[in-house]
Amino acid sequence: MNSLIDNSNLILALPEIFLALWLLIFIPLGVYSGGSLAVRQSYFSLFAVIGLLGTFLILLSGGYKATIAFNDLIVSDKLVVYMKSLVLVAGILIFSISERYRSLEKLFIFEYPVLVLFSILGMLIMISSNDFITLYMGLELQSLSLYVLAAMKKDSKNSSEAGLKYFILGAIASGFLLFGVSLIFGITGTTSFTTLATSFSNMSLNQPLLVFAIIMILSAMAFKISIAPFHMWTPDVYEGAPTSITAFFAVVPKIAAFAVLMRILFIAFYEISFIWQQILIVMSILSIFVGAFGALLQTSIKRLMAYSTISNVGYVLLSLSLATSIGLESSIIYITIYTVSTLGVFAFILSMEKEKVLLDKISSFSGLSKSHPFYALTFTILLLSLAGLPPLAGFFAKFYIFRSLIIGDMLWVAVIGILGSVVAAYYYLKIIKIMYLDDSEELLNINSNNYIKYVLGFCAFLVISFIFFADSLIEFCINISKAIVL
């Protein structure tokens, strides 16, 4: 009976186990060593980063071999390892850029890193899930931490509001997911992805209830990655949450949710792609346009980034909706590049402060090119990449999406997607225009620490130099997708 808890199972879950144990050490350590003392905070952050690094190393030492463990509950393969690494690296970088902001906003309490680690743990569980129950557990662990993190700025009404909104809507989405999963269980008698795949291949698929279940599950996932029409929470939560948490929101949960969505679509529901393809196309086009148009009139950079996220995830979903290996591969490329660009953008946002208050109005960046040319230049590069200008990385990301669409005989969808990116380019360019052409109202005072500068420079460098290592990344992504889709 104890055969389940043998070595092979444990080794597969080792990254998660390590992180969980680290957290269990962390909490008492934090409580008994002055968890809310400002001077200790950098040690706590360091401790958290070391935990993430350790997890990362354990993850890498595990290898890429495709295996299933814990009675079909979790899985490990190339996609899992890659997405987990992306999550961990992004998590580490976000820690390093949020330090200064936390010191400004009285977020120097040790629960902050603890909750971030918890949510990352949830994401790791999500990514490696091979069963809807595991997925749900990971999702809840992740979301619950994020709800709390969003509401963390206790003296800010916006922050509490954001946390509450996210919580309520997230609960509804969880309800959708559970409803859908229970229907699926009712129809097929299983919740395991791999078993689902086989059971779909020998049953009649023309069932409305199955469609309903799938729509439920997809809606829940769409909520997590903020796809329209389930995107409504995104701008409010992005704006209300503490900015360092917004940075986290914008990058890390999206990676995890996409990783698990890929697994659902391409393993569990691959046989019934005819059901979800149309739905995903409609949702992703809708969110591309909501993202593009919604951002046009925004004056707050955080809200703008929220809409930017909405339209970007639309592109990823669009190429997933192809249900082909090429679509999967280009969406992995897109996620990778999106992660880097968005991280850089938030590094920039987190460094824009005046008199110890973070700036949020886009118009307050005016004249930045003269006072802080480095920041203006790197931010420009990142924005241009998000807008998709060659030869920056963002161009290739979009290029591969559209290429896969055209190969998949969805030329018109590609054209619509391109139109959306044209509209989106406007507001990215507007920021650049403000930084370079408008006269400054007041001079900004940037006291960012060096980490932010390094991360900003690093992201900008990656975005520029992508063209030189594009081959190897694309090769890698092709390998990943080949391992999932035959």
């Binding site: 809507l169 909520f223 029409p229 409504m232 148009f293 046009l296 406007y426």
Partner: protein, 639 residues
């Protein structure tokens, strides 16, 4: 070594262009110069190798790879390109050196040197390319640098205007070149020199009909390519920019507008000789245009008073010589003249620059005179240059101009004969205006304040000396180029057997050989009479032949005609299109209309975002139900 040769100037350009503060003011001048010097040494070695028969192509990277269409970045070394490399690097290096002295008072040296080096790089890309696209890259690159350098003193209104003019006129030519390249790709399915040249014979009889006239494809190709060459090499009709281009600093005029860039057209024709050879009508056209340019420019030059403009028109005229040499299939004679011309024309320009420098930017020859005492070295240099230009033995110009005229005569065609006599007349005028400069600047009485004139610094004199040596000996040294018994060009220039002008040229009668010298001497004599002996006679002549005089002085009203016929109607058209078409129709329904629609959609999306959580939840449900209803209806086949 070829790679280094090509990329060292680029390195120089980047260093002084991007890091001027880092390498300092001195560094920004000396580093590009030294890098060019190294490249020059390489070019000598490569020329030596090429003469021994070496030729290869280095592939650097794939540039375009689209279907069957592949273009590489490649460097091609053969006889033709190595000669060009040598000429370009020699003049470029000397001009760099010269500029150190010439630009000493300018605050933007780093920018200047950066442009110079960039130009050199672009020129090298042009001459070493092994396909038409890379040639076009270099072609546009030199055009861009030319624009930047003409407008170098961007605070001067006239310099800006001249820069724009040069650019625009060149665009007309470039259009021809692009069309030519497209046509070549269309017919040959390749833009690689070797492939194209090898398959010329396969399609030489292809033609298409336009308005019931059968036009051979190959004629059209050559014609279009030559339009490109006309633009870049300032041939008549598209020549107007060259004189205005003299607004740029003098070293620029020497490098770009005398020795290298403007000769790119000649190089193009010589490079494409395997195509041109099969296009007799296009060759005829080349000859006529070349001949007309040579006489026209010489005719305009005699009445100009700006020292640089005279030399510019002289350049124009000499380019005409090169072209009609090519037109009668004497490509090697054209290339030979290109090389010797590079020496003596650069010498003249640099000499003129020295004079201008000495007189604190005075360019009007009417305000000079008797400067030989103040500027002895410059004076000697200018004399040598003029002797070479007029084609007196044993100076360089003698050999090359002689062979061109002989070839024209020996082609035994009507066009060739026409070109020969025109060429002789142009030679007369050439000698005349050259000595006009010499007499008016260095001899006779001083007409302006020259007391402050002083000899230029060493960095100016060294290039002058080297070029003088070149102007004396390059003709003699370069004679093997036109040797018909031994193929100097190692097959890079193709001449069909029935085009034997060059071969026949060596057997031309003695009067043909001597006549250029005689007319040159006559020209000098007239100049002496008019500008030293009988000064008032000049005035008389001007009045007596006032029509001819005014024609020449106003450059045959080319600029005015263009202004009236092309610029103003275009401006009007543009005005109407802008106000009525663009603002009224396109903007209103296009950008502005779209912007308004976008704004409305954005407002709508923004207004949905109420901030109430139950609205959001509602939206989620509505979304869910909408999607499901849609699928539901599909499933039951009700839609």
């Amino acid at each position: 070594m070829l790679k280094l040769l090509v990329f060292l100037p680029l390195l120089g350009a980047l260093l002084s262009g991007i890091f001027p503060k880092f390498i300092g003011k001195k560094g920004a001048m000396y580093i590009p110069t030294i890098l060019c010097g190294i490249s020059f040494i390489f070019s000598i070695i490569l020329l030596h190798n090429a003469i021994l028969g070496e030729s290869y192509v280095i592939n650097l990277a794939t540039w375009i790879n689209s279907g069957y269409f592949q273009i590489n970045w490649a460097l091609k070394l053969d006889m033709l390109s190595s000669v060009m490399l040598f000429v370009v690097m020699l003049v470029s290096t000397l001009v760099h050196l010269y500029s150190i002295g010439y630009m000493d008072r300018d605050p933007h040296q780093a920018r200047f040197f950066s442009y110079l080096s960039l130009f050199t790089f672009a020129m090298l890309m042009l001459v070493t390319s092994n396909n038409f696209i890379q040639l076009f890259f270099g072609w546009e690159g030199v055009g861009l640098c030319s624009y930047l350098l003409i407008g170098f003193w961007f605070k001067k209104q006239s310099a800006n205007a001249a820069a724009i003019k040069a650019f625009l006129v060149n665009r007309v030519g470039d259009l021809g070149l692009i069309l030519g390249i497209c046509l070549i790709y269309f017919k040959f399915n390749s833009l690689d020199y070797n492939t194209v040249f090898e398959s010329v014979t396969l399609i030489k009889d292809n033609s298409f009909s336009l308005l019931n006239i059968e036009i051979p494809i190959i004629e059209l190709c050559c014609f279009l390519l030559f339009i490109g060459a006309m633009g870049k090499s300032a041939q008549i009709i598209l020549h107007t920019w060259l004189a205005d281009a003299m607004e740029g600093p003098t070293p620029v005029s020497a490098l770009i507008h005398a020795a290298t860039m403007v000769t790119a057209g000649v190089f193009l024709v010589a490079r494409c000789s395997p195509i041109f050879e099969y296009a007799p009508y296009a060759l005829g056209f080349v000859t006529i245009v070349g001949a007309l340019t040579s006489i026209f420019a010489a005719y305009v030059a005699i009445t100009q008073n700006d020292i640089k403009k005279i030399i510019a028109y002289s350049t124009c005229s000499q380019l005409g010589y090169m072209f009609f040499a090519c037109g009668v299939s004497a490509y090697s004679a054209g290339m030979f003249h290109l090389m010797t011309h590079a020496f003596f024309k650069a010498l003249l320009f640099l000499g003129a620059g020295s004079v201008i420098h000495a007189l604190s930017d005075e360019q009007d020859i009417r305000k000079m005179g008797g400067l030989y005492k103040a500027l002895p070295y410059t004076c000697v240099g200018m004399w040598i240059g003029s002797l070479a230009l007029a084609g007196l033995p044993p100076f360089a110009g003698f050999f090359s101009k002689d062979i061109i005229l002989e070839a024209a005569w020996a082609s035994h065609t009507i066009i060739g004969g026409f070109a020969f006599y025109i060429g002789l007349l142009a030679a007369l005028l050439t000698a005349f205006y050259s000595w006009k400069i010499l007499f008016m600047v260095f001899h006779g009485k001083s007409r302006g304040d020259i007391s402050s004139a002083h000899e230029s610094p060493l960095t100016i004199l060294i290039p002058l000396t080297i070029l003088s040596i070149g102007a004396i000996f390059s003709g003699w040294l370069g004679k093997p180029m036109i040797d018909t018994h031994h193929d100097f060009w190692h097959g890079t220039i193709l001449i069909l057997d029935n085009h034997e002008a060059l071969k026949n040229a060596h057997h031309a009668p003695i009067w043909v050989k001597i006549s250029p010298i005689i007319v040159a001497l006559i020209g000098i004599f007239i100049a002496w009479v008019l500008y030293i002996k009988r000064l008032n006679f000049t005035q008389f002549l001007c009045e007596r032949f006032s029509f001819l005089y005014r024609c020449s002085l106003n450059k045959l009203w080319f600029d005015e005609v263009y202004e009236y016929l092309i610029c103003q109607p275009l401006k009007k058209c543009g005005d109407i299109l802008w106000k009525k078409g663009d603002i009224g129709v396109i903007d209103r329904f296009g950008p502005d209309g779209i912007v308004n629609v976008c704004r409305k959609i954005a407002m709508r999306i923004k207004s949905i975002q109420t901030g109430y959580v139950y609205h959001y939840a509602f939206a989620m449900f509505i979304g869910l139900i909408a999607i499901f209803s849609w699928q539901f209806l599909l499933l039951f086949g009700w839609v």
